[in-house]
């Protein structure tokens, strides 16, 4: 671990705003995404999905479809036998990718076809006859917890009775009852957030090819091709080594592409047809059949003294996971109070099953909802005791040595720094006009590291191929190239970074938990250092001196000591040129478990204007403050902050899954699932704090997720201040805001 420790240094190229190495391909249309691959003889795959929210599948008749001209394979769950032992996360993936006896939600896959072209595939889907028996359904989290609720998964029990509650988690410390007894002011409020989708612009897409020998290839848009390989190989009964998975360019993921959805179906179709099969989801399928985040219902209670000291905090969180258990409520509970140092605190979370799509991670999963409830209540307490909301937070802020509500005691952390930056920001002092309001809020996320493997190969001309195994979701190749160039002491332009397929590197964990730059950055540093050791050894051979007499600086081997003063430094390129005669290719390699990512904090400020006659909110100004540890490429750090804030704004104002009484999703389209458009947003100001992470050689901290956490609460505060009534339900869509205004005015 010692080598992971942060060492202060003057960077030469790290921190500069260079052009990304994959940029030209992406602005010329040449970059190949999930749907951009073609194979000889490829078929078109399509999936038949359940029109019911919950139904017994009595019979599937595929005989007519199978006989159609041009149809090469039709599959049901019978073609994906269970090899998982019937339980666990991979079994859930199997059941989710193809229903087994019961359709668990509107859009659940029940059969699939592969045909010579799109019209034939569509016709074949129509020819499949499924006999359903509709079952009672439940899509609302509170309704699903009721005594007489329809049961989503038989076998789940709570308190000894069949239930939809799959997990109850509790975190905290102290005695909350005693804490509330000490309080001068107690505020208790309930909140709801509706279900949102990651909304990546690229639908799920893959090209699968499995031969009769059992060997397979999968080209897929994913955040983790190694994980996809392992899961798919298990579900299909293939050897891991015989399934080569290549991650295409990925058109956005935000957690939604960490999960396997339909790839086993594509592989099974290909195996049955003995032809490559391309399977691409339509946008409606993305909404119906891939990972939204939870909808929630939450109660938060905070007690404080008049001097601003919080005496107790308590949260009860109810998160729906779709029809399969997930860690989502638990993560909400763990993150809910993480910004504060509280003597008495408790968070209880219920994970609840409903007839909606399987929930997936969405950028700092589960944290935004809990933060919405806790931060909104913080505002209410501050108002009640007449304190400035920033000062109130500062008075209770978590610091080094504070005991986190999720258990451990914090080391050095950055929340106070972000709050101070907010307090001093000119945005906080800007004047507001009529019908305008300002809000601010804090957010927390864990960040992870994980298994990582990187390869660095030096060409005879001194240029460097860096092969990374974590998927590049938004500029990582530029950052890795900067790090390799920094470490080797060569120009950025001399490094070419690419993402390797599963046959070219050891396992890499999925790009999730803001881990890409943190962990591949670490592996790149170590791989470069390994290569430097080889370069020094080669220089020693060329000079015929002892390797201990050589040091590496500014991209060259330098011989130490006066006895070698006649030896001019040997550059990397000079050593590489001679490599055929000094032992062959020069490479550096590293595999590491990059733990110690450190927790992350952000604070946001938002100004809005609300039309009091229509309830419509316009974002006037938005500022993000977040700790990046060290910004390797500041443009892409800002980009992460801005993108996360924009997603949070959409979540706060307009995005939601709307279910009908029939349990069907009403709005599976970008027309009616309303993500922010360009004209909805102002420029989003960013302030990058650089408080080095002690557990990374360059001080890097993950930056991708945390800034989606504060927006819901920051905007709720701003809207509430603009209209004079507290909003407690996201999205704060115009009908909800207008209704709140009307009710506040007694109309």
């Amino acid at each position: 671990m010692a080598e992971q420790s942060y060492t202060e240094q003057e960077f030469k190229v790290v921190g500069s705003r260079v052009r990304r190495p994959d940029g030209v391909d992406k602005v010329t249309g040449r970059a190949r995404y999930g749907a951009d691959a073609f194979a000889p003889g490829q078929l078109v795959g399509r999936i038949l999905r359940s029109p019911h929210a919950h139904a017994k599948i009595k019979k599937i008749d595929i005989s007519r479809a199978e006989k159609m001209k041009g149809v090469k394979a039709v599959i049901t769950c019978d073609d994906l036998p269970d090899l998982t032992g019937g339980r666990g996360p991979n079994f859930d993936i199997l059941v989710n990718c193809m229903a087994r006896g019961t359709a668990l939600y509107h859009g659940h896959a029940v059969a699939a076809v592969a045909a010579v072209d799109e019209p034939t595939a569509r016709k074949a889907l129509k020819a499949i006859k499924v006999e359903y028996k509709a079952l009672p359904h439940v899509t609302d989290v509170d309704a699903a917890m009721a005594e007489d609720a329809p049961i989503v998964q038989p076998g789940v029990e709570h308190d000894g009775k069949p239930s939809n509650i799959v997990n109850v988690s509790q975190f905290g410390h102290g005695d909350v009852d005693a804490g509330f007894a000490e309080a001068d002011v107690i505020i208790e409020k309930s909140y709801r957030t509706e279900q949102t989708h990651q909304g990546y612009i690229e639908p799920h897409a893959c090209l699968a090819s499995v031969g009769p020998d059992g060997d397979g290839e999968l080209w897929v848009t994913t955040q983790g091709h190694f994980t996809f390989r392992n899961v798919c190989a298990q579900l299909l009964g293939m050897d891991i080594a015989k399934l080569k998975v290549t991650s295409s360019e990925i058109g956005g993921g935000f957690g939604g592409k960490t999960h396997v959805w339909m790839e086993p179906v594509a592989l099974a179709l290909s195996r049955k047809a003995n032809r490559p099969v391309k399977l691409v989801m339509g946008r409606d399928e993305v909404f119906m059949g891939s990972g939204p985040t939870c909808s929630t219902s939450m109660d938060v209670k905070i007690g404080a003294k008049r001097d601003g000291t919080i005496t107790a905090g308590q949260a009860t969180l109810r998160y729906q996971d779709g029809p399969f258990p997930g860690p989502w409520g638990m993560l909400g509970a763990m993150t809910s109070w993480a910004c504060y140092d509280l003597p008495n605190v408790q968070a209880v979370a219920y994970d609840v099953l409903v007839n909606r799509p399987k929930v997936a991670a969405y950028r700092a999963p589960s944290a935004p909802m809990a933060a919405f409830a806790v931060e909104s209540t913080m505002d209410l307490v501050a108002a009640e005791i007449g304190m400035d909301p920033v000062d109130f937070r500062l008075q209770n802020v978590a610091k080094e040595g504070s005991k986190a509500a999720y258990g451990p005691t914090y080391g050095p952390i950055g929340i106070e720094a972000t709050l101070r930056a907010v307090k001093n920001h000119p945005h906080m002092k800007a004047k507001l006009g009529k019908n305008q309001g300002r809000g601010m809020a804090c957010g927390f996320w864990f960040n992870f590291g994980g298994q990582t493997c990187t390869d660095l190969n030096i060409g005879v001309d001194g240029t460097v191929n860096l092969t990374m195994g974590t998927v590049d979701v938004g500029g990582a190749r530029a950052s890795m190239s900067l790090i390799a160039a920094e470490e080797l002491g060569i120009p950025y332009e001399k490094v070419k970074c690419n993402v390797g397929d599963t046959s070219s590197l050891g396992h890499n964990d999925t790009t999730e938990g803001s881990r890409g730059t943190f962990s591949s950055g670490m592996a790149t540093i170590f791989a470069a250092r390994a290569a430097i050791d080889v370069l020094k050894a080669r220089a020693a051979l060329m000079w015929e001196i002892d390797v201990d007499d050589i040091e590496w600086k500014d991209g060259a081997a330098h011989a130490k000591g006066i006895e070698h003063s006649n030896l001019a430094p040997l550059t990397l390129a000079e050593i590489a040129k001679k490599s055929p005669q000094t032992g062959g290719p020069i490479a550096g390699h590293n595999e590491v478990v990059a733990d110690g990512a450190g927790v992350s904090f952000a604070s946001h400020i938002c100004d809005v204007e609300v039309d009091p006659e229509t309830g419509k909110t316009k974002i006037l100004r938005y500022t993000v403050v977040q700790d990046a540890g060290k910004a390797i490429h500041p443009d892409y750090v800002e980009g992460q902050f801005q993108g996360a804030a924009a997603q949070g704004i959409g979540w706060a104002l307009n995005e939601e899954y709307v279910y009908g009484e029939d349990g069907r999703l009403q709005n599976p389209s970008f027309l009616d699932y309303r993500i922010p458009v360009c004209s909805d947003l102002p420029f989003i100001d960013t302030e990058i704090l650089e408080i080095p992470n002690p557990n990374h050689p360059y001080g890097i901290r993950g930056v991708g997720e945390t800034s989606i956490v504060p927006p819901l609460a920051a905007i709720a505060g701003a809207v509430s201040n603009a209209v004079g009534v507290r909003l407690d339900h996201t999205p704060m869509s115009p009908p909800r805001v207008l209704k709140a205004i009307r009710e506040a005015n007694g109309r």
Binding site: T258, A361, Y362, A364, G411, G450, G513, G596, N695
Partner: protein, 81 residues
């Protein structure tokens, strides 16, 4: 001897205790001894457990020394986006 605190989800596996004392110098030893003393913990380790040492969370690293007076916390393994 480090005192190991457990997140609520694990407490049933250690007979309802909030924390237990385990003689261990490294995370690997801790994980082994915990399972030896409390076999019900094995299922949790199979599903994924993160270990926090003095506030720093480790998901996979096992060969890390645990300082004598360290705060040790067992947390569920986390997922991210």
């Amino acid at each position: 001897m480090p005192r190991v605190s457990l997140a609520s989800g694990f407490q049933a596996a250690v007979d309802g205790a909030v924390s237990v004392e385990i003689e261990a110098a490294t995370i690997r030893e801790l994980v082994r001894r915990l399972q030896e003393q409390y076999p019900k913990m094995t299922r949790h380790f199979d599903e994924g457990v993160a270990v926090s040492i003095n506030g720093e969370i480790y998901r996979d690293i096992r060969d890390l020394n645990i300082p004598p007076d360290a705060e040790v916390f067992l947390l569920p393994r986390l997922q991210g986006g």
